[in-house]
């Protein structure tokens, strides 16, 4: 009788340990699966959710490489106002290779890319290359004082980053024409015939940017 009690008690103990072990293993497995899922979801969220854009690549060094349906299309003409109040149209740059760089003052990766762009613009300008910076900072269009202050902030930020090319305001106004870019920086490289020959989404390397500039100039691969 006593042996039987010991047996039952032992069995109960084993069952209890099994409950804890099975529960723990299941929880750990689910947690692992959730982490894997989060990793899978992360990249498309930032790099691949841009409507009209193709598959974004990983953050392993080739983030800017992408296949965009915008590539191969004629770049849509637009007219925007620059930070000095001057009207600027893409059509003004007919016959030149142009990089449209969509950025914002609140975008930390843009602050890394912009000084590279300033250098590249200086280097390739004599060959017929121009950059148009297009700011996506919010603007209070109905409040003249605020608009003036916001414009001054954008101009100051661009100046601090060494920008020596036109910085245009209100990128939202032309967003749809360029596939509603959802992340910044985003660039479109337009060749001398007005065709988009390359696009980058997210921070890429200075070498990648230079290769795309060469493509736009018709001297790259």
């Amino acid at each position: 009788m006593r042996d039987k009690k010991f047996f039952v008690a032992g069995l109960s103990m084993v069952a209890f340990v099994m409950i804890v072990a099975a529960g723990w293993a299941n929880w750990a497995n689910r947690r692992h699966m959730a982490e894997m899922q989060a990793q899978r979801e992360m990249q498309p969220m930032v790099m691949g959710d841009m409507p009209g854009m193709g598959q974004g690549s990983g953050a392993s060094g080739d983030a800017g490489e992408m296949v965009s349906p915008m590539v191969g299309r004629q770049a849509a003409n637009f007219t925007l106002t620059d930070v000095s109040g001057k009207k600027v149209s893409l059509a003004d740059y007919k016959g030149k290779a142009v990089q449209l760089n969509f950025w914002a003052t609140w975008c930390a990766p843009c602050k890394i890319e912009t000084p590279w762009l300033a250098e590249l613009e200086k280097q390739y300008k004599p060959k017929g290359f121009e950059i148009l910076g297009v700011s996506f900072d919010d603007l209070d269009m109905n409040d003249a004082a605020k608009l003036k202050s916001e414009t001054a902030d954008i101009a100051r930020s661009a100046q601090q980053l060494g920008v020596n090319y036109p910085v245009l305001l209100d990128g939202d106004a032309i967003s749809k024409q360029y596939g509603d870019p959802a992340v910044f920086p985003t660039s479109f490289f337009v060749n001398r015939q007005g065709k988009i020959v390359a696009a980058t989404m997210g921070l890429t390397s200075k070498d990648d940017l230079e290769n795309n500039i060469k493509k736009a100039l018709g001297t790259g691969e």
């Binding site: 009690k5 039952v8 069995l11 109960s12 069952a15 209890f16 099994m18 409950i19 099975a22 529960g23 723990w24 293993a25 299941n26 929880w27 689910r30 982490e35 989060a38 990793q39 979801e41 992360m42 990249q43 969220m45 930032v46 790099m47 959710d49 953050a59 060094g61 983030a63 800017g64 914002a104 003052t105 609140w106 975008c107 930390a108 990766p109 843009c110 602050k111 890394i112 996506f136 919010d138 902030d153 930020s157 959802a182 992340v183 910044f184 920086p185 989404m201 997210g202 921070l203 890429t204 390397s205 200075k206």
Partner: protein
């Protein structure tokens, strides 16, 4: 005793099929209305019971999606957009002394950029906003808003606002 052992074994089998913390996870994170593509989601609480008319601490829990960061409430530079929370005015409910956690120091890991750019103050993973709540007797539907601006190491998304909805019962 044998009945008890059978019950234990049945439980053990069930435990293998179900997460023992499933209820906790459901309450904490899966009943949110957040869209799957949102960088930040409000986790909990969905319901709070407080003593009527008495100043009561409240904690709002959020989660930043893995691999992303958002600026803290106090970014290091003026041009970066801070994380903020706004509450609708409700005659019967007041939230005061809102405290955001301190941000983590973060430097973009970018090769070829001297210094990797600016140091940032960010939130990643879970973070909690604390405040003191006073509510008049009754039930209050709080519809607050959290505004943030999210990035990963290579790209940023425009600032975005998510709803923070909870029911406060003051007794």
């Amino acid at each position: 005793m044998s009945v008890w052992v059978s019950a234990m074994l049945a439980l053990a089998l069930a435990a293998g099929q179900q997460n023992p913390f499933a209820n906790f996870l459901n309450d904490a994170g899966k009943k949110s209305d957040a869209k799957p593509d949102e960088a930040v989601r409000y986790l909990y609480p969905e319901q709070v019971s407080v003593p009527a008319g008495k100043l009561t601490p409240v904690e709002l829990h959020f989660e930043v999606k893995s691999g992303l960061h958002i600026n803290s409430h106090a970014p290091k530079t003026k041009d970066l957009i801070p994380t903020t929370i706004t509450l609708p005015t409700d005659a019967g409910l007041k939230l005061s002394g809102v405290e955001f956690p301190a941000g983590k120091d973060f430097l973009l890991p970018v090769a070829g950029a001297p210094g990797g750019g600016d140091h940032l103050s960010v939130y990643t993973g879970d973070f909690t906003v604390r405040g003191m709540m006073t509510a008049a007797r009754g039930e209050h539907l709080v519809q607050a808003k959290l505004r943030y601006q999210a990035c990963d190491n290579r790209a940023c998304m425009p600032p975005h606002t998510i709803p923070v909805v909870l029911t406060v019962t003051a007794q």
